[in-house]
């Protein structure tokens, strides 16, 4: 049984990794547990403020007893506010929520787009030294790439692409994937996942993103179209889906 309740984390660190990429470490009141792929809902404004109102979903980047880490990119008002958090600040959050990545039998191949690296990091941590992990990592530009040294695992093979060519190969990551056997794990923008699914005839587990209001399955805000089933909720039926099940809308 998942304990779903409001929690308060105390900021331990809020490290600026790159211009717009931060790693937030929260000390939780009690020990919590999470599986790779699960996410937390973070209130980016103080509890007493109603603006921004809704909590935001962030993948668990790392979790060690009472230290929860999320990796985030500033993309709007909420994440901009988060970036001003200081040591000692109280942060309201809930979770972890959602389903998780099934473990691979053989080699794991990660395809991470942008901050999608976050949820794959936690999976990588669990698999590290047990399974071979290859990491394909695509970002817009070098100053959005999380340095490998901040990850909790060391990939056996690693390829970085940037859209502007400022670091690694120039282009989008799906253009550089050399198909090989293994279990594919995808996390990143919907476009990347869709691109992958068009290009490769292999199935894969993908962590999907959709706007969320509740994160707990009650608002029907976070639908994803599943073949023959209609809308399913990313927050409770996901965020991890087999890409073969997804019905792409246009």
């Amino acid at each position: 049984m998942k304990v779903k309740k409001e929690r308060t984390g105390k900021v331990l660190e809020n490290i600026k990794l790159k211009e717009k990429i931060f790693l937030l470490k929260l000390e939780t009141e009690e020990e919590i547990s999470a599986k790779p792929g699960e996410f937390v809902m973070i209130k980016t404004s103080p509890s007493a403020s109603a603006d921004p109102l809704l909590k935001r979903p962030f993948a668990v980047f790392d979790l060690e007893k009472r230290v929860l880490s999320v990796l985030y990119k500033i993309t709007g008002r909420g994440t901009a506010l988060m970036s001003t958090l200081k040591k000692g600040d109280a942060v309201q959050f809930s979770g972890p929520f959602g389903n998780s990545f099934p473990l691979p039998r053989d080699r794991a191949i990660f395809v991470a787009g942008g901050s999608g690296i976050a949820s794959l990091n936690f999976l990588g941590k669990k698999l590290y030294r047990k399974k071979e992990i290859n990491l394909y990592y695509g970002v817009k530009s070098g100053d959005e790439a999380v340095p490998l040294s901040f990850l909790s695992f060391k990939p056996s093979q690693f390829l970085l692409t940037t859209e502007d060519g400022s670091e690694g190969k120039k282009g989008v990551i799906t253009d550089f994937i050399k198909f090989e056997k293994g279990t594919y794990y995808l996390a990143g923008p919907t476009n990347m996942i869709r691109e992958f699914s068009k290009k490769f005839k292999v199935d894969a587990f993908a962590s999907m993103e959709e706007r969320m209001a509740c994160g707990i399955g009650v608002c029907m805000g976070c639908g994803i179209l599943i073949k023959e089933k209609g809308y399913r909720r990313v927050c409770v039926d996901g965020p991890v889906f087999k890409i073969s099940e997804i019905q792409w809308e246009d």
Partner: protein, 302 residues
């Protein structure tokens, strides 16, 4: 504790605080972590005869202290609801209010007839106020006569609790009066306020419909005024809903004239809110030595 209840029609709400339709699923999604004694009833997501797929994504967008939704009444429909949810209610022993939605009078009647058979269903919230569908919903509000007929006929079908959920974008003063005349037990005021947000880069709506419904703390002062206006104008109870984020807000609604309140959007923000509100009301009543009954409608005009 004994004080914190209120009877409306045939339902005793204890506490007089419950989730708002569409913000609590069917009530079973949260069973793992929710203490049902913190709410006085379950109010379901809007239900239709046939399952509805709802609108495309994006369905929600945040605004200042609020959010706009255009879910479009995605729901599992009558049959699946009866099969999958009613067994859960049987064990729960909480009043369950089904929020029902039809595109025509006939659909409403068919829904009422079906649900009326179940003792697990304590009452109805008649949704003639959803802004996010093409047919039915708030469109009904344009024809008060149709509403009168609808009410009259549903009232013949069921003796259970009936509350009519109104839209702020309708002539709610007139419609609430009609509902009272036709035997409704209560008025639920209100549904979301029609609103829009534009993506300035593609010049389209930020959600998949042009308009959606605004909810959350942003609208609270408007809704409070509407609850006050309606409750002064009719003698059946009003269930207040819109933007409640704290027990203080709930007390404001009671003072304005609400006999019970619902909480929607702020449950997303704080899943402890029902406990917090219940405890807050209890503490307030005790500290101020006033009963809920005497608090309701006790606003002082000067």
């Amino acid at each position: 504790m004994g004080r914190l209840k209120i009877k409306i029609g045939s339902i005793t709400f204890s506490p007089p605080v419950m989730p708002a339709s569409g913000t609590f699923g069917y009530g079973d999604e949260v069973k793992e972590f929710f203490d049902y004694k913190d709410i006085g009833a379950i109010v379901t997501k809007g239900l239709s005869l046939k399952p509805r797929k709802g609108n495309r994504m994006p369905r929600i967008i945040e605004t200042s202290s609020g959010m706009i939704n255009a879910i479009g009444l995605e729901n599992i429909g009558l049959d699946r609801f009866i099969k999958e949810k009613i067994p859960f209610y049987r064990k729960l022993k909480k009043p369950v209010i089904v929020n029902i939605f039809g595109e025509s009078i006939d659909e409403f009647l068919e829904l009422s007839e079906n649900f009326n058979r179940f003792k697990e269903i304590s009452g109805f919230e008649i949704n003639i106020s959803c802004p996010n569908v093409d047919k039915g919903g708030v469109e009904f509000s344009k024809t008060p006569d149709v509403i009168r007929e609808l009410l009259r006929r549903i009232r013949k079908i069921t003796k259970k609790f009936i509350s009519v959920k109104l839209s702020p974008d309708s002539d709610y003063m007139l419609i609430s009066k009609i509902c009272e005349e036709e035997g409704a037990d209560a008025i639920t005021a209100i549904n979301t306020i029609r609103a829009m947000e534009i993506d300035i880069y593609n010049r389209r709506s930020k959600i998949s419909r042009i308009f959606g419904g605004l909810s959350g703390p942003a609208i609270k002062p408007i809704v409070l005024r509407i609850v006050y206006e309606i409750s002064k104008n009719i003698s059946i109870p009003v269930i207040g809903v819109g933007g409640i984020s704290s027990w203080e807000d709930a007390i404001q609604f009671f003072i304005a004239g609400a006999s019970a309140v619902q909480i929607g959007t702020c449950f997303f923000v704080n899943t402890n809110i029902f406990r917090d509100v219940k405890n807050g009301i209890e503490g307030f009543l005790e500290k101020n030595r006033i009963s809920l009954k005497n608090l309701i409608g006790s606003f002082r005009e000067n």
